[in-house]
C-alpha cells in the first residue's frame, strides 16, 4: 500500500504526526459535504486508521455529524470521494455497506414494546436474505453483541422499561450484532449519566481490543475523547484543524482556537493530557 500522507490541514497548525498509519479503514479525500447550497464540511484529507478508536471532536456546528453522514454514504458529497477499504462507499450497495460499516445515530427510536433481544436481532438485517430465518451465525452474533454490551440481564425487557443509558447500550448492541469491521457512532454518550457514559466507552474499547473493530466516534466531551480514543480529529468550521494522538492534539492553543475556551492542559506522568477549563473566550 502506498504511503498515505497523514493529514494536510488548511490551517498553519504544525502537524508533525509521528505514528505512521499504513492502513486507512476510511479515507476521505477532498470532500465537500452540505445541504443544498450550503457547504458544511470541506475537508481535504481525512484518515480513519484501521483497527483504532478515533474520536471526532469539535464545538457545536463544526460539522462532526455531517462528516459522519458523509463517511457513511448517507450524504453524497458535492465533490471528492470516501473510500472504505479502498472502495468508494457510494459505489457499494446499501446492504453491502451495512455488512462492513455500522452507524449508530445520535438519537434512536424504536417501538417501546420491543424487547432488547428483538432490537438486537434487527442488527442481523443486512446478513439475512428476504426469506432467511435466523441462522446459527445470527444467533451467535446476537449473543455476542448482547454479551459485549453487558445487557444479558435485560434480554427480555421491553425498551419502554429501560433507562436512557440502558437503551443506548441496547442500540449499541444492535450495531454490534451487525458485525461490521468499522463502526461509526454519533455522540453515543450525550444525555447519559456518568456511569452509562463510562459503560458505553468501555464497550467501545473492548470491541476494539477484542475484535479489532475500527471505531470512529463523535464525542462532545474532549476530556472523554482524550481518555478513550487513540486518535483525535479536531474539526473547526467544517475542516480538520488537527489530527493525531490526544497528547499531541490537545493543547491550550487548540482549546483557544477551536473551542473558544481558555484552559490549561496538564500532562500526567503517563503523558495523558488533563484539561482544566478556566473561562470562555469571546
Amino acid at each position: 500500500m502506498p504511503e498515505i500522507p497523514l493529514l494536510s490541514t488548511t490551517d498553519a497548525q504544525p502537524t508533525d504526526e509521528t505514528e505512521p498509519v499504513d492502513d486507512a479503514a476510511l479515507l476521505a479525500s477532498d470532500i465537500e459535504l452540505g445541504y443544498g447550497e450550503e457547504v458544511v464540511v470541506d475537508c481535504e484529507h481525512l484518515v480513519i486508521p484501521d483497527g483504532r478508536v478515533t474520536a471526532l471532536v469539535g464545538p457545536n456546528g463544526s460539522g462532526k455529524s455531517t462528516l459522519l453522514k458523509g463517511l457513511s454514504a448517507e450524504l453524497t458529497p458535492e465533490s471528492g470521494t470516501v473510500l472504505l477499504d479502498g472502495r468508494d462507499v457510494h459505489e457499494r450497495s446499501v446492504s453491502n455497506l451495512a455488512r462492513e460499516l455500522g452507524l449508530l445515530d445520535q438519537e434512536n427510536d424504536a417501538p417501546g414494546g420491543l424487547t432488547v433481544e428483538d432490537l438486537v436481532t434487527h442488527g442481523r438485517y443486512p446478513h439475512r436474505g428476504f426469506l432467511d430465518p435466523l441462522s446459527e451465525d445470527d444467533y451467535a452474533a446476537i449473543d455476542r453483541a448482547i454479551d459485549l454490551a453487558g445487557i444479558d440481564h435485560l434480554r427480555e425487557t421491553a425498551l419502554a422499561e429501560l433507562s436512557g443509558g440502558q437503551k443506548q447500550l441496547a442500540f449499541i448492541a444492535m450495531a454490534l450484532a451487525q458485525d461490521t469491521d468499522v463502526l461509526l457512532l454519533d455522540e453515543p454518550t450525550t444525555y447519559l449519566d456518568l456511569h452509562h457514559q463510562l459503560r458505553v466507552m468501555e464497550v467501545i474499547r473492548t470491541l476494539n481490543d477484542e475484535r479489532d473493530v475500527t471505531v470512529c466516534v463523535v464525542l462532545h466531551d474532549l476530556q472523554q475523547a482524550t481518555r478513550f480514543a487513540e486518535y483525535l480529529v479536531a474539526l473547526e468550521d467544517g475542516s480538520v484543524y488537527d489530527w493525531g494522538p490526544p497528547e499531541e492534539v490537545v493543547t491550550e492553543q487548540l482549546l483557544a482556537d477551536v473551542f473558544n475556551v481558555d484552559a490549561s492542559v496538564r500532562h500526567d506522568p503517563d503523558g495523558d493530557p488533563h484539561i482544566v477549563p478556566r473561562h470562555a473566550l469571546e
Partner: protein, 373 residues
C-alpha cells in the same frame, strides 16, 4: 428462550399465549357470526337445517356441484365440471348461493383492510393511519361516482374503484417525492390530494339526478356487502392469495422500518424501494376490499390498533393477529348490517364505524399514551 426461537422459521411467528388467544377468539367470533348470518334472513330455517345445508353431502361429495357454485357456471364449464344445481334442496341453494359467499366476502374484506391498515401504520409511523390515508378512498370514490354518473356500467365499478384508488396513490407519491419521501410528506400529500378528490366527488354528486343511482353511490362510498355473491368472492380471493404471504414476509421489513429511516438505511435497507413496495402491497390489499365492498371505513384503522394493544408492536405477531381479527370484525359487523333492521339493510361501513368508534374512544380513555411507535 433463544432455543424456542430456533425452532420456528421466518414465516411462523411466535405463537405465544396472547396471540393464540386473539386468533382463537377471532375464529370463534367469525364462525358464530357466520352461522347467524347463514341461518337468519328472509328465508327462515332452524339452525340445524342451516348447518346441514352447509355440510350438505350433495355439495361436498360432488366436485362438479362445488365447482359450479364457486366458479360459476362458465368457470366450471371450462374445467369440464358443470352440474345442474336444481338437484340441491332449497336451504342448500340459499345458504350456498347467497348467504355463505357474503360471509366469505366479509371475511376477505376484513382481512385485506386490516393488513393494509397495519402496513400503512408502519410506513407512516402513525398509529392513526388507515388504508385510505394515501388517497385511495377519495380516488376510488371519484372514479365510482364518475362511473355511475355516466352510466358506464355497474360491472365496471370494481375496476373503476381500483384504478381510481391506485391513480390517487401514485399522485400522492409523486406530490410527496422530492429526491425521496418522508412519512410526514406522504401523509400531508395524502390529505391534500384527498381533499381535492373529495371536492370533485361532492361536485359530481350534484349532477346525479336519479334516486337509484344516488343510492348505489352512497352504498359504495359507505361500504356495503348487500347482494354480493361468488363473483365477488372470486374477485377478492385472488389478490388475497398474494396479500397474505406477502404480509407475513414483510413483517420483518416493517419492524426494521419502524426503527426510523436512518436506522433502517444503516442496517442496509433500501428504504425508498421498500417503502414503495410495501405501499403497493397495502394498496393491492385495500383495492381488493374496495372493489367488492366499497369504502368500508374504520376496519383498517381499528383492527391493527386493537391487536397491537394485546401483542405489542412486533409486526410478525401483529400481522398474524390482523389476519384473523380483521375478518372477525367485518363478519360480525355485517350481521348487524344485514339483520339488525327488519326489512332493510344498512351499509356494513356504517356498522363498522358504529362498532369501532366507541371501542376506539374507550381505548383512548384507558390508554395513557398512544406512542407505541
Amino acid at each position: 428462550m433463544s432455543r424456542r426461537r430456533r425452532v420456528h422459521d421466518a414465516l411462523a411467528p411466535d405463537l405465544d399465549a396472547t396471540l393464540a388467544s386473539i386468533i382463537g377468539a377471532s375464529i370463534l367470533l367469525t364462525v358464530v357470526a357466520g352461522l347467524v348470518q347463514v341461518r337468519y334472513g328472509a328465508y327462515e330455517m332452524p339452525l340445524e337445517t342451516a348447518v346441514r345445508a352447509l355440510l350438505d353431502r350433495a355439495v361436498w361429495t360432488n366436485p362438479s356441484v362445488l365447482a359450479t357454485l364457486i366458479l360459476g357456471e362458465r368457470g366450471a364449464a371450462t374445467l369440464g365440471l358443470s352440474a345442474d344445481l336444481g338437484v340441491l334442496s332449497n336451504p342448500t341453494i340459499i345458504v350456498w348461493t347467497s348467504r355463505l359467499p357474503r360471509v366469505l366476502v366479509a371475511a376477505f374484506v376484513g382481512l385485506n383492510l386490516a393488513v393494509s391498515g397495519a402496513v400503512f401504520q408502519a410506513i407512516t409511523r402513525n398509529e392513526l393511519a388507515s388504508p385510505y390515508i394515501l388517497g385511495v378512498s377519495s380516488g376510488a370514490g371519484v372514479a365510482v361516482v364518475f362511473t355511475l354518473l355516466f352510466s358506464l356500467g355497474a360491472y365496471l365499478l370494481p375496476l373503476a374503484a381500483v384504478v381510481g384508488g391506485t391513480a390517487a396513490f401514485l399522485l400522492v407519491y409523486a406530490v410527496a417525492w422530492r429526491g425521496g419521501t418522508t412519512p410526514v410528506r406522504l401523509v400531508l400529500a395524502g390529505v391534500v390530494v384527498g381533499t381535492i378528490f373529495n371536492s370533485l366527488q361532492t361536485g359530481l354528486f350534484y349532477f346525479i339526478d336519479s334516486n337509484g343511482v344516488m343510492r348505489t353511490a352512497v352504498a359504495w362510498l359507505a361500504g356495503s356487502l348487500t347482494g354480493v355473491g361468488w363473483p365477488e368472492v372470486r374477485v377478492v380471493a385472488v389478490p388475497t392469495l398474494l396479500v397474505v404471504p406477502a404480509a407475513l414476509v414483510s413483517a420483518r421489513q416493517l419492524d426494521v422500518l419502524l426503527l426510523g429511516e436512518r436506522a433502517a438505511r444503516s442496517l442496509g435497507m433500501r428504504v425508498e424501494h421498500m417503502r414503495f413496495g410495501l405501499s403497493a402491497l397495502a394498496i393491492v390489499a385495500a383495492s381488493a376490499a374496495v372493489a367488492v365492498a366499497g369504502l368500508v371505513g374504520f376496519v383498517g384503522l381499528v383492527v391493527p390498533h386493537v391487536v397491537r394493544t394485546f401483542v405489542g408492536s412486533d409486526y410478525r405477531q401483529l400481522m398474524a393477529g390482523c389476519l384473523f381479527a380483521g375478518p372477525a370484525l367485518v363478519v360480525v359487523a355485517d350481521v348487524f348490517a344485514r339483520l339488525a333492521l327488519p326489512g332493510t339493510q344498512v351499509p356494513v361501513g356504517v356498522v363498522t364505524g358504529l362498532l369501532g368508534g366507541p371501542y376506539f374512544l374507550l381505548l383512548l380513555r384507558r390508554t395513557d399514551s398512544f406512542t407505541e411507535f
